[in-house]
Subunit: 239 residues, 2 copies
Amino acid sequence: MQPRPARGERRVEALSRARIVQAAIALLDDGGIEALTFRALAAGLATGPGAIYHHVANKDELLSAAASDLLRTAIDGAAADGSDGRGVREVMSRVFITVTEHPWVGRHLAAAPWQPAVLQLLDRVGSELTALGVPQTQQLDAASVLVFHLLGVAAQRGAASQLHEMTEGRAAFIAEATSHAQDLDPGQYPFLEQVGPQLAAHDDEQQFNAGVDIILAGIAAGSGTTPDRPAPDFERRSR
Amino acid sequence: MQPRPARGERRVEALSRARIVQAAIALLDDGGIEALTFRALAAGLATGPGAIYHHVANKDELLSAAASDLLRTAIDGAAADGSDGRGVREVMSRVFITVTEHPWVGRHLAAAPWQPAVLQLLDRVGSELTALGVPQTQQLDAASVLVFHLLGVAAQRGAASQLHEMTEGRAAFIAEATSHAQDLDPGQYPFLEQVGPQLAAHDDEQQFNAGVDIILAGIAAGSGTTPDRPAPDFERRSR
DNA sequence: ACCTGAACACCGTTCAAGT
DNA sequence: ACCTGAACACCGTTCAAGT
């Protein structure tokens, strides 16, 4: 029989869902999503792979739990601030940082966008928008586009870490893609070639925040007296 | 020896990259991403799994090629129209439809956002914005937020098809999530409960287009001279 | 009730052997 | 050069057997 260690001198901590999730996060943080294996996890926890299934239903649930852990602290850590757009900006920014520091979270977010943590984010963003005075009829669309923006960026972050594990691989990638395009057909990506210098110079976080700003500006523009909008007027630039 | 069928009466078509991609799309369209297997693909092509590797490097490349096939026709099929926002709207809308009709494309887009087809979309959107008169300094940010929006929606579409394979599973899901939240803590998702009726009633495509409209409005607002609107003008943070 | 770890059913990918 | 398909190295997951 297994002697229960007395005097609280437990050599082996009891298996628990919390410990499993913690170990999973550790594996994911170095090694990415393909480093999370039930075998590796079990080895780290000094047990067999089957034991884990007594605490987690399957790998998807484990991934969601791990991602949720980090996302919740990011979301809850943002101070509510309904006076201007700062509340929304802070939640968005905090989640972006989480997704950047843990690219596997981004990957899982993009792979399973309906997990509770995303709902929580959508709810939080929506509440902020309500406090900002966005009309009721537009709150859902407005909150959705913000969350979709985040999901898209999350996907990019999650994949970026895979590309040769370079943090700054994007510029090199663009260069490669552009040059590859030139092999096939010079000028296939005219716009990207045009903004090439900006591409090489820009910062991902800055670009993300710029996107949030654009969306917020659009929400603010739509919040005014609503016409039967055919299209936002771009016309004023010509002339 | 294998008799080469004369008179062009080939019983078995020669293996080719095009045929492989075509067969892959067929497998993906019914059965989703987990139906695409080198064994199943080989069986359908009446050959062994190894033969495929003579024409495609690996599964990722095969998936990208299949997705690219559909995305290119969606992107190229959109008529350029620089006069108002219609050009951008049409490309975005066409890709949305593709991603809706082939959810596996959405999944792969979210999983591999840097594939050439996405670059092509970014380039196309950027070109449209240039034609719209968006200032040079804002073109990249503007194009990016549109593409990120699309990637986020693509992720949602890709995952939605997995949830019990119901097209309208979203409402049920929200209801479930909300009720589940009530088990834990009534009012955990106050915003979602508030917009509940809109959630149940809304159409995904409509919501996507509304997001595009919001972003375009934000781009237009940033492009022109700032209107003196005091009320909902969230102060733009200077990076 | 919880743990163990061998075994099952499946993958993507490789490679000697054929043609 | 292209094909073949058995074999390899790995998965997630299950389950009889233990405690």
